[in-house]
Symmetry: C2
Subunit: 339 residues, 2 copies
């Protein structure tokens, strides 16, 4: 079995351990949040961690009413004109904790006196050293190039930040590992989807709200593992121009679970079908797409940690089917040292 | 001549008029900024205006040290969980001023007591009504579906906000209309690029810093006008996975002018060439790409308003060459009423 499949299978255990072990760290962050009452959050991240940042933008806004800004590292590293982080909480998300541009943003926040948090799989990394608070993903070494367990662990860490001190949300979160395990057990649908998607060369992935992150992460996995030219959009952004290239030659993957986003996703699916596109879906209503990847039930705000699982399995399955080296595809390397 | 070509040609005059006529409005915004000293900015926008928002993120951060957050409309319209905009300036950018999700974010900001600004081509629009300050783009009706003059006018309005009260920056800005006119005069290179790009079916566009916006807007124009499946990335985001699909089948368009971003763009171009990709470039060094679209000189921070011009001409030229209805391609409509 590939490292990627092993790491995907570890996700329920990784998250269960994380929620248990990191509770003191999360409590300390929540206490400082209550004391300092930051006006907004800055999140610095790259790659899959940047998709976790997209989830942070949704869930910290929704649960803590905290506006979240995705950092612009080039202002720090190339232009030497960092913004003022007055009354901010600055969060860096990086599996390795070694990405110089992510470390740079958090270090700048600390230097300016802002509250800082590192979410990383390496508590001895430069990112952890730069931040006042460290949430250790504790996912074990991730040896496959494609991030899987560190992505969902980052989502769980962010969800735990949003839930800290709220009994109902904490109860939701405690059920997440079992939900991911149940999702992983649905291997038949994933295998059927691999067959149905065997000829995909390019793809548009669409999601909204909580699942804007899922759309981007699914597109990234399908691209880096299976070599599919895939792009992610919200329905609104797609309708503003990119819909032009949707048609018979380019299938669409809709991230369309039940909940507040379902209505606009349904409209989008109908529009894509009118243009002649074939539509695949991840969600709860099999009428929305073929192939269809059904999701187990989970509270809507935690959906992204579950909905990415079938996309991971689809990407890995297509990679295997195409004879690609799943654990080191296309000569990619694990850590990208961009400034 | 198509409406799109007429509107592209109007850009120098539109910006010259805007800088003159909107000075009182811009002064009023700057005065309130000095008085209220917001901690961060929220920008709500869609489509090309969202690319103008990417420029705002760069230039307001760089010149005013103001961190800029791109709004998440779904929190307002679908989840009914708007973030707290305490100590924020909330800016809506919309050509029509009619996009319900953009209006919703600005109205929420106003309701919460935040400072609000509308940048719109219609001062009688709902967006203008929702905001305390209105910067009227005054670009005249834009009849082509693809935004061109309203995009560069939005960039100029944002640049003027950043420059207000600074003599050196204001002098830079005063020279912008002439620079765009000079860029428009370089029609030979644009025509040659249309021939060289005649077979492009998919494309990756890369830019960084000030030109992160340019990369996204160039990709959007090439997609909506010429039907090219084009995606935009920063070099760092591309290296985190999407580089997997760069190779002989997928050319790259590098937005690589002289300045702070040139070094990392050069490295990216070299990596793409090692993977067998053909590279086109917009910049100052003809060695960076073929076809090559040379830029006239302009202060680096204003580069995006000039660098988009050859991309507009390339997209229109390819659209014409492919027999597409330039002014209403692919059945797109001008205003997208997403919530």
């Amino acid at each position: 079995m590939s490292l990627a499949r092993q790491e995907i299978a570890q996700q329920p255990d990784v998250i269960a351990r994380l929620l248990e072990r990191e509770r003191p760290a999360l409590r300390a962050v929540a206490a400082e949040l209550r004391r300092r009452r930051p006006r907004y959050a800055v999140v610095a991240a790259r790659g899959s961690s940047d998709n976790a940042a997209r989830y942070a933008q949704h869930v910290l806004g929704r649960m803590l009413q905290l506006p979240v800004l995705l950092a612009t590292p080039s202002l720090h590293t190339l232009y030497h004109a960092p913004p003022r982080f007055v009354d901010a909480i600055v969060i860096g998300i990086s599996q390795s904790g070694a990405s110089p541009d992510v470390v740079g943003v958090v270090a700048e926040g600390a230097w300016q006196g802002a509250m800082t948090v590192a979410i990383t799989n390496d508590p001895t990394s430069p990112l952890a050293a730069a931040a006042a608070h460290v949430v250790d993903l504790g996912a074990g070494e991730e040896r496959s190039v494609a991030a899987t367990k560190t992505y969902t662990a980052s989502l769980a860490a962010i969800a735990a930040l949003a839930a800290e001190g709220d009994g109902a949300l904490s109860d939701d979160l405690a059920r997440l590992p079992a939900a991911i395990a149940a999702q992983l057990a649905l291997t038949g649908a994933a295998e059927a989807a691999v067959e149905a998607a065997a000829d995909w060369e390019r793809l548009t992935v669409v999601g909204r709200g909580a699942h804007y992150a899922t759309a981007f992460e699914a597109a990234l996995k399908l691209r880096e593992l299976a070599g599919i030219v895939s792009e992610a959009y919200s329905p609104a952004d797609l309708l503003h121009g990119p819909i032009a290239t949707i048609g018979p030659a380019q299938p669409l993957l809709a991230i369309a679970p039940a909940g507040p986003t379902e209505g606009s996703m349904r409209e989008l699916v109908a529009t894509a079908r009118e243009r002649g596109a074939s539509v695949a879906a991840i969600g709860h209503d099999a009428a929305l797409g073929d192939p269809f990847l059904e999701l187990v039930d989970v509270p809507e705000w935690l959906g992204p940690a579950v909905a990415i699982v079938p996309a991971q399995l689809l990407a890995v399955g297509l990679s295997e089917r195409r004879g690609i080296d799943v654990d080191a595809p296309f000569g990619l390397s694990k850590i990208t040292m961009t400034r």
